[in-house]
Symmetry: C2
Subunit: 406 residues, 2 copies
DNA sequence: ACAGCTTAATTAATGTCGTCATTAAAGTGG
DNA sequence: CCACTTTAATGACGACATTAATTAAGCTGT
């Protein structure tokens, strides 16, 4: 199982990684805090920290209050030690953002996509243009960029090179990594948008502190990110979490994936609109795009019993879907996100109740069901955490032997 | 995330654990094999191995073939270094088995349960009696028993003391660990029977070599064991894998758990019998217990179109349930077990086909769907692997400081 | 049968790294 | 300015793995 041999160096590596992670995730801490939370001895902490400071990864940031005794020095990850870029390849927009290590946005760029023809090459071009745009805009050298995280709304098969299957974009086996690679040397991390969003919520949002959490995303499509033992679970070929296409109504409505009775065929935005239309005698929901029509539907629920009933049914389906997640994963937390779920925020009590009806008592009581905190824009933020996660995991050591950078 | 500090000792610990695990799981190996598979240097291997041999954990077992050059020495875990006990607390029987470290059965004991009144104290008594029986029968001292693994058909909440919720036995919050603890000092490992069975298949059966696998068990009840990254995933309160109570037919048949449309309400043994009876105009399936009635039904399918249809429908439901597992977990392998699934073995092609209809293409193609190899008796074997897993994880060092045992 | 070759295992020297114990530093309060 | 307290830095020590060099133990062919 464990294939990595342990050597004396790996001890240092692990400890560096542990300290750096604590500092990154839990803000400024003193050496004493680190000592308590990692269990390492004082000299070891000081030793590692002095390395990290020497390399510019960590900086001292003021002194802590003290009532008697030498006050301890606050330590934090140097915000400008390096930068990361997060990209959100959505169905209608490619958004590129540049962050420092405090995850503050320094620059943004956006490129609308024509849903009719979303050529992979076009998207790759947008990503490369965005990288260029945000770095020049913020006057950041590419040499100081740790890497580029890219969240794509589709299945991302990780291999030697990430390959993307995105039904919504009409992509099948698109070698997105290779396409982007041809225009930049920056390290690339491509992942499912649901996973990157989940990662953002896990580190900075509703998932903080949870060990096992599920991020259930309902937008045009329906998906989920599974966090087990604090990290994303991706499965054998990185497609785990395809919650939207689990069967909830055996033999039910036909889903756009071809199967019948998928959850997405009941609670995806399009499905909700369709169901309302059917219930309403064929009359369509007013409004232009899906997003405004869902908003209109939610508003109409105040006066229209039909709209209300459709939304209540939606809560029932969604609750059952959440119950399935709870029964299978036994998470501490289920976080609902995605723009449709956000628009349906008022249904949360009904969803909870429906989940309670369908889930087993014991796991249901262990799980809290909440709304996400960061909004849908967090896909890029979450993507940007991917290179950061790598930095933390490697203890801040660049993979190759270019340790001369300081 | 990682709370364990790394120290120089932990290096040795990890390497011991890695070597021991390789030796246990992949049979006799040479020092050279270990060197290649772990990446450690030759002297390090020799050093650790000589410790292990000195402590009696490992023995040399003959020499390997050689065509020129000094032949290497085969090494293996000493079968009689220690013993483990596995217990299967089923719904009708408590089975206790004693194994050596080669996982050879040395002694067995069985205690039928009266399903009407399965008092926790009675079960605990049977377990204790069984421990006594198998150790005396095989003339093994309790001091040489590493621990007792117990697989229970119910949710096992791990805490300071394992607490069992077993609907089928009418148990709620039963402090089984405390009950057994009062009669023995042996280390106890209590877990869900599905998990222990999955563990057995993972190490010795259909799961060998898989990193991510799901063991789907269909018997009277329906459950699953989830193996992620080679180990059981238990979730926040150890109830992960409650596949049987996920909703497959929204608003469908009422399940014994109280919810509606659970998978178990369609493919559990009782449900199949009920569905046949309904389809057959109320006439019951002949036969005594569930097991023989399912067998009768399978046999009847050769001549009765009704029976055939019921079984085909069952394959459809089961396939959809498997598809849900595939979509959510993206496993390399789905292994079907449990006595009902075994009886329905002939349906495997139909189940595969149904799963293919409902699952997404990409994850479906990545997953193989197979029958289990070890049979239902493997619950005790799997339970017995729990103390072994602990031994391997700790590198063969007893937790307390009693290293003077050799 | 014995040199000559190959592969396996052990020994020796080196270097990394965390721990314990001790010392230096940097505050507060009387 | 001197006790007292808490934080940080040193130095001796021991645990371990690594590389390089030896020794051990078998084959092969003349």
């Amino acid at each position: 199982m464990e294939l990595a041999r342990a050597t004396n160096r790996s001890v240092r590596l692990r400890n560096r990684s542990a300290l750096l992670s604590r500092l990154f995730l839990d803000g400024p801490l003193t050496r004493q805090d680190l000592m308590r939370s990692t269990g390492l001895s004082q000299p070891a902490i000081s030793n590692v920290v002095s390395d990290l400071i020497g390399e510019g990864l960590v900086v001292e940031a003021g002194v802590a209050e003290s009532d008697g005794g030498r006050p301890s020095m606050m330590l934090r990850v140097a915000p400008r030690f390096a930068f990361v870029i997060g990209v959100d390849v959505g169905e209608t927009l490619v958004r590129v953002e540049l962050f420092d290590l405090a995850m503050t946005v320094l620059a943004r760029a956006g490129y609308p996509l024509d849903p009719a023809r979303t050529e992979p090459a076009t998207v790759a071009g947008h990503v490369l243009a965005g990288i260029d745009a945000v770095t020049t805009q913020a006057r950041v050298s590419c040499a100081d960029v740790l890497g580029v995280g890219i969240g794509v709304s589709g299945v991302v098969e990780q291999g030697t090179e990430a390959v993307v299957h995105a039904q919504a974009l009409g992509w099948d086996r698109v070698p997105l990594e290779r396409l982007i690679r041809s225009g930049t040397d920056l390290p690339l991390h491509i992942d499912n948008g649901a996973n990157t969003l989940g990662q953002a919520e896990m580190w900075f949002g509703a998932g903080r502190g949870a060990r096992h959490a599920v991020f259930a995303l309902v937008g045009s499509g329906v998906g989920a990110a599974l966090m087990t033992n604090g990290v994303a679970y991706r499965g054998a070929s990185s497609s785990a979490g395809e919650w939207g296409h689990t069967t909830l109504v055996y033999g039910g409505r036909t889903c756009r994936c071809g199967a019948r009775g998928c959850l997405e065929a009941y609670v995806g935005a399009e499905a909700i609109i369709d169901r309302y239309q059917e219930a309403h005698g064929g009359r369509a929901v007013p409004g232009g795009d899906e997003e405004s029509r869902i908003a209109a539907l939610v508003e109409a629920a105040a006066s229209s019993p039909t709209a209300r009933r459709v939304l209540e049914e939606t809560a029932g389906y969604l609750g059952a879907g959440v119950a399935n997640l709870i029964n299978l994963f036994n998470p501490e937390r289920v976080v609902l996100g995605g723009w449709t779920a956000m628009a349906l925020g008022g249904l949360l009590p009904a969803i909870r109740e429906a989940a309670g009806r369908q889930a087993l008592r014991q796991p249901y009581e262990q799980a809290s069901i909440e709304l996400c905190r960061l909004g849908v824009d967090a896909v890029a933020l979450g993507a940007a955490t991917l290179p950061v996660a790598r930095l933390l995991a490697t203890g801040g050591l660049r993979p190759t032997v270019d340790n001369h950078h300081r």
